[in-house]
């Protein structure tokens, strides 16, 4: 029986580089800091969304990868807002912003908790940001796992579709951690892939192997 699900695009952001379907679409300077890199990305892809700059690093990263993937597929015009799910995995939760927020409350003599930071001390805010921008009202979940678990995401996607809860999915792994010393080499990584029930320009079969291959490419 033909697999009813296709991966119709994927976008990866890591090491100051952005690839879409395996092709490099943006290359930042080698040693550029993430805030400057992602600002360049914002301008290059013309997001025109002022709220982007209020987001924390994790949200900026996942939001950028999603927006770039969405440009490629056009799923927003192919499906109803309630038929598009957003399911993301993450390894470091919101540790980046948790650490920054802690700095605003650690000194009892200089105790000014930042409301703007506090709202980002939960990683699922990322899904909220993606959904708000694109008016998505479908299923949404964020899983915190030590490593990307694509077999699990594969099964989860199939279940969402088979139970009639969704017709297209924004899936992936988005992780940001600049504070854990032994992770300095992997400070951030976003891998977003779109799964659809309809055919689109690109139609890679939705299999565990394909997801892992695209992630590793």
């Amino acid at each position: 029986m033909k697999n009813p699900l296709s991966i119709t695009t994927y976008c990866k952001i890591a090491g100051n580089k952005i690839t879409v379907n395996g092709n490099v679409v943006f290359q930042g300077q080698k040693n550029i800091a993430f805030p400057d890199f992602i600002k360049q990305v914002y301008k290059t892809f013309d997001f025109s969304y002022a709220k982007f700059f209020k987001m924390d690093n994790l949200c900026r990263l996942g939001f950028a990868a999603t927006e770039i993937a969405l440009i490629e597929t056009g799923i927003l015009s192919h499906y109803n807002e309630g038929d598009i799910a957003v399911v993301i995995q993450n390894g470091s939760s919101s540790i980046d912003t948790d650490t920054e927020f802690r700095q605003t409350i650690i000194d009892r003599d200089n105790y000014f908790p930042s409301p703007g930071l506090f709202v980002y001390t939960l990683p699922n805010i990322l899904i909220g940001e993606i959904s708000i921008k694109n008016h998505l009202t479908g299923e949404s979940t964020l899983f915190v796992t030590e490593k990307p678990d694509f077999p699990f995401l594969h099964t989860y996607t199939k279940a969402l579709v088979q139970t009639g809860k969704t017709k297209a999915c924004i899936m992936g792994w988005v992780d940001f951690d600049r504070h854990t010393p032994d992770r300095n080499d992997v400070q951030y990584e976003a891998f977003i892939y779109i799964v659809e029930t309809k055919e689109n320009k690109l139609n890679f079969e939705h299999t565990k192997d394909n997801i892992i291959t695209f992630y590793q490419s």
């Binding site: 002022a50 700059f53 209020k54 000014f112 930042s114 409301p115 703007g116």
Partner: protein, 85 residues
């Protein structure tokens, strides 16, 4: 007063992450919570923290906050009236 207004514009841009603004884009008499800046209730809370942290002024009621944060000038007026108390 004008120096305080310019200082406040820079502070607002920084604490509210208004990345695409500079101080010349902010008219001190335009509403801060109109369409132009896209500010939210979280931003209002950040402005309350700013007044407390930078100017040692505590705002006790939300109703008072609406008037104080109407424009940059109303903020500056309020600071001028309350900063030495």
């Amino acid at each position: 007063m004008e120096n305080l207004i310019e200082e406040l514009k820079a502070e607002i841009i920084e604490v509210l992450n208004l990345e695409e603004m500079d101080i010349t884009n902010i008219d001190p008499d335009e509403p801060l919570f109109g369409d132009k800046f896209g500010l939210s209730s979280i931003d209002a809370l950040e402005l309350i923290v700013l007044l407390e942290r930078k100017y040692n002024i505590k705002i006790e009621s939300a109703e008072e906050g609406k008037k104080i944060f109407h424009t940059v000038r109303t903020m500056a007026d309020y600071i001028m009236q309350h900063s030495n108390k």
